[in-house]
Amino acid sequence: MKRIFIYIFPAAVLVFSSCYRILPSKGGGQIAKVSGERIVEPADIVVPPGYTIEVVAAKLTFPTAVAFDDTGTAYVVESGYSYGEVFLEPRLLRIEEDGQVTTVFAGEKNGPWTGITYHDGFFYIAEGGQLEGGKILKVNKEGAAESIIENLPSRGDHHTNSPVVKDEYVYFGQGTATNSGVVGNDNAAFGWLYRFRDFHDIPCEDIRVNAINNETENVLTDDPNDLAVTGPFSPYNTKVEQNQVIQGGIPCNGAVMRVPLNGGDPELVAWGFRNPFGLALAANGDIYVTDNSYDMRGSRPVWGTGDLLFKLEENAWYGWPDYYGMLPLEKLEFPGEGSPKKILARDPREPTPPVAHLGVHSSSNGIHFSTNADFGFEGQAFIAQFGDMAPNVGKVMAPVGYRVVRVATDSGIIEDFAGNTAKENGPASLLKTGGLERPIAVQFNPEGDELYIVDFGILSMGEKGPNPVKESGVIWKVTKQK
């Protein structure tokens, strides 16, 4: 009998080692062709027993966030931009009782609008700024708008994100220009490198870098033999020397900053994030941040890092571009391909531990806290998971995300809250159902007894990049049966 174990171990090796290397990526967006109009069917979504889900509004184009005014009326923002280089007019829409929408304010083609909050008579909208730089817009209910800050460094991979109001300040996230600090040919694939050839990440304070220079084909010249050599925190095809000082400044990338409600200079709250997409206030006044983690792409690919949930600490540093949580990237080896080399010659300070580890490539984005015991899960964070964008972000064995999860912030325990009913995971377009496509934000109503889920709509991943589908966005509402 003992001998049988001689065979079990090799067989186990076969089991564990074969899947990832042999099988192709199975991302949820890897759909050859999305056919027809989106079907919307609440029965295709599973929520916990005792809860129901319904449609509030449909046929929206790239919706990204919901807010409520002081009368409890719901508003939604349409992004005006999607990965895949689709530029439209972003819009603030009021949702009428019959589910129809009325335009309150339309912005310039400088999306994506990534988030919205309402405070004391005004909406505050994060304008992603893919073309002109990021802004925070202040808009009243009649549609009169002004910028309270602009020219944020938002023309790259990630944008100006998710405003929340606390102590007469608007707090907002500012994503990084790149995946892991180095401008590369993946940024050309996004589109922005051709528009802004000198754009790169800006640190929030002066840093010293190691001479990590990456050689690639130079996509900005016509000569196929021309090479680009690019260092961290530098423009494309610009080398760095060992211990070179890179000048920091504010505004900067990979940071949470704040600005007074009536505008003014931005102040740094914390930095070292990668893409701090979702910000939310807990009942005790703490701010929590969802951070989209590294991808397996570009000149400095990073493998196997899940999205993170952090509690925001003033003056803290969160580790980008050299750590995943508390783990140095140098210790995070993709077998056979080595690990990323350290960029910072000296860390600004100790990185800050995360509250929870979310799925790799889950794109854990919008976040909001339950504050009503009648709804349940009081004090827990609800997070919308947009879902993977494999294979562009890296390979996955199965679709990741495409659901709403809840997180106990004291323990980091993550549980599903809403997902699709099919046995396999994935967006509705893959499963051929009428369920969730790509949840991007969650928002409780002011009473806290209804959870709104903002579903961006169909975004498939083609050979040439993302293919977003207009008029496929949906707002869902979850309530608990009395």
Partner: protein
């Protein structure tokens, strides 16, 4: 001599059986079981399972969300005994990194394995 042949036949049969079992497991390991979301906060019945769940969430769930497939294959859809789970955590066969004693103690590895077996049973019910 005849005894040796019988022994060899038994070994061959055993090998075939093991390969068949694990081939089936490998195929199923790349799919995701469906689990109904819970309407209440889920408490673990023992302290070890509670700690196992916390450790799993800190070290494993990013790649195996809720024990299911994601970046990596699912764990809770395979008939793997606890000792093989412990072996995999320690030695990191395939692309999975090994978790050495500096990261997870033997007791912690045992608690993760125990939690995964518990999770598998829960999902089967």
């Amino acid at each position: 001599m005849e005894g040796d042949k019988t022994e060899m036949r038994k070994l061959k049969m055993g090998l075939i059986l093991v390969i068949l079992v694990f081939s089936g497991a490998r195929i199923s390991s790349c799919s995701t079981p469906k689990v109904m979301p819970k309407a209440e906060v889920v408490e673990m019945p023992t302290d070890d399972l509670r700690e196992g769940r916390n450790l799993f969430n800190s070290h494993c769930s990013s790649c195996h969300p809720a024990g299911k497939a994601g970046l990596a294959p699912g764990i809770i859809d395979k008939p793997l005994p606890e000792f093989l789970i412990r072996f995999q955590i320690r030695h990191g066969v395939g692309v999975m990194p090994a978790f050495d004693e500096e990261v997870l103690s033997d007791q912690e590895v045992e608690k993760i394995a125990e939690y995964l077996v518990y999770l598998r049973k829960e999902n089967r019910n």
